[in-house]
Symmetry: C2
Subunit: 379 residues, 2 copies
């Protein structure tokens, strides 16, 4: 039996030969791209690829090798397509996504809408992002209202929570981003510290009813497990809960909201830091109606569908991986009116002007049934 | 310029050479595996692979090719490892996951726990799965209680909702599966038809307060948008909501729950089919305390962590793809106490006895920081 070193030497010799052949192949692929550019042919010829894969994999001398050859050439052809997309981009053949590049975003005199009432976490995010003196902000009752305000042109920007570090995504806002097709231009992370608030003089033992937003109730699940007898009521946001407790003026009612809300509505803090995760934070997105980005934007959010076939999610992600793009996050959400089918949301690093990003987006848009760029913004 | 056919002929010649080299390489990989099996060495030698990737990619004559060569050999080495895992499995060197194979699951005299009260959707799922005369079922207040009942041995099986076709996953139950480490032994899909229920004689115009489970409220979001003036209250489940409306006996209170609940609690159906998605369905899981599966089991649910590096989620999924395994679904959930890091839940087709599954799981467990098999059951 050969020893490990001898075997590895043999592998090294083979690998160098594979590298040489691979580079020859890529050279020819470039010539194919030129041909396709001149004749206006599409890069992705699925039938031809399927046929080639069948022919090559039939050369395998075992089931494992037949499978491996197929996988290997799926990848080689995929890299080859990416090279062709790249050459097309270099030739200026690229349908840029309909995004306008701006020098800076203009926040002066911007009308900003948020969901909730005075003191909502969203308002804290708004102030942190736009500055304390962000003039023209107003609030609406629901997230959909905020999206509508943008759609109708009543507001220039909306601030919406998109993800909490312990409760996970705010799925409704993912769905609304797809439905409205607005554009994310920024994000703001806010540390969440929930407190239990009661009317002045109320004691913990008085409490029988707790009011808050469903996400906030979830974020305090362990604390609330210790008070099972309390009835939980869902309101549109945490600040509204504080407002309601104040207005109702009953000692048995408490709100789960921020400390700041206690000051605004004149409530007592009965307990502090009651969220499960002491590092709890929420990420908010800043949304506008126009598709714009700036040169400084370094994060892209996209949504795609069409990953129903085996492994096709995997192949979709390959467009990011092969272009050397860092993927931050992936989420799936059910497709409306279709059971057990999903759309995927991916956040990754980059700018719409980067060639690597353009190649990845071109590949994704040619190989998914639907690709939506949700925004390119500063993270 | 050469025409497309000539170029393709050249590619075909190159591809055949690559196939031949690839098969030689796999042959040597098999010898390496034998060596490793005899000497008890680990298959995955990350340092050696990193070094090889650096050497090979340096042979590239352009940035694109250097990147492509790296990707190509990451895949070849990954397939090679999979071949080695396969050979080790053939040699019986395989730490089987601690799952016991049973001929059938014994549901006779089983004590079954569900969350909620009489008439909850979960109870419908329970009856459909275990049969109408499933004797020993009882209910508890929270999902955690149901998990606890299994942990303490008070119940043999628990029934829990895991995903709704329009609202998405029941994230709390994903988290509880990880926390408790119980085993999924079955699933049951139930069509969800929500109705608005009031006390006998109540009219739609009387309603000011609606009681239901937060997921049910979400599932009726569009309907509730039309009745913004109603106050929404979250309860532990839909049947409890019906029970509360009945007990309170007030004409202005309504519950969102199933039609069946109306019969159980003697309520009137004010409106039917009020969920957004007319095809709305919920998937429930059947959970037990022992790690068991049967030969007929054809779906596997796993959870893994350790996909923090660039593209590592992608590489994790490759273990399924390269073993020819169909992936049904992927979800991510935040890791507790760590912000913006995630664990992934994947459902795929197969049985723990399948060599392909064993190879995939071996690869995943060697290359993730944590792999948990949540269950292998009939879909």
């Amino acid at each position: 039996m050969k020893n490990l070193l001898e075997l590895r030497d043999e592998i090294d010799v083979i690998d160098k030969q594979i590298v040489a052949l691979y580079q020859q192949r890529m050279q020819i692929a470039a010539e194919v791209a030129e041909y396709k550019i001149e004749t206006g042919k599409k890069v992705f010829d699925k039938d031809r690829e399927m046929e080639k894969l069948a022919t090559l994999s039939a050369l395998g001398d075992s089931a494992f090798n037949r499978h491996g050859i197929r996988e290997l050439f799926e990848q080689i052809m995929s890299i080859s397509r990416k090279r062709q997309y790249q050459l097309m981009t270099e030739h200026g053949i690229y349908e840029k996504p309909d995004f306008e590049e701006l020098d800076t975003l203009d926040y002066k005199n911007a009308r900003i809408v948020f969901q909730g009432t005075e003191g909502a976490y969203t308002q804290l995010a708004l102030k942190q992002y736009f500055g304390e003196d962000a003039g023209n902000s107003y609030h609406v009752e629901t997230w959909r209202d905020a999206m509508e305000a943008i759609a109708r042109g009543d507001a220039d920007y909306a601030v919406l929570p998109i993800e909490n570090s312990s409760a996970g995504i705010v799925s409704e806002n993912y769905d609304l981003m797809v439905e409205y097709g607005h554009c994310i231009v920024g994000e703001q992370i806010i540390k969440i510290e929930h407190a239990l608030l009661g009317v002045p003089g109320a004691k913990l033992s008085d409490i029988t009813d707790v009011y808050s937003h469903p996400q906030a109730l979830m974020q305090c699940a362990r604390y609330l497990e210790g008070h099972r007898e309390w009835e939980k009521h869902s309101l549109k946001n945490t600040a509204m809960a504080a407002q309601k407790v104040r207005e109702d003026g009953m000692r048995h009612k408490a709100a789960i909201a921020s400390r700041i809300t206690a000051e605004i509505y004149g409530l007592d803090v009965l307990e502090e830091g009651i969220q499960d995760n002491k590092q709890n934070a929420t990420r908010f997105i800043i949304v506008t109606g126009k598709h714009v980005f700036t040169r400084k934007a370094n994060k892209i959010s996209i949504c795609f569908e069409g990953a129903h076939e085996t492994g096709s999610l995997y192949h979709m992600l390959s467009h990011l991986i092969y272009n050397g793009i860092n993927m931050d996050h992936i989420e799936s959400r059910p497709l409306p009116e279709r059971n057990w089918e999903y759309r995927f949301f991916v956040d990754f690093e980059g700018n719409l002007n980067d060639p690597a990003v353009q190649n990845a987006l071109r590949g994704l848009s040619e190989e998914t049934t639907r690709l939506q760029i949700l925004g390119n913004y500063e993270a």
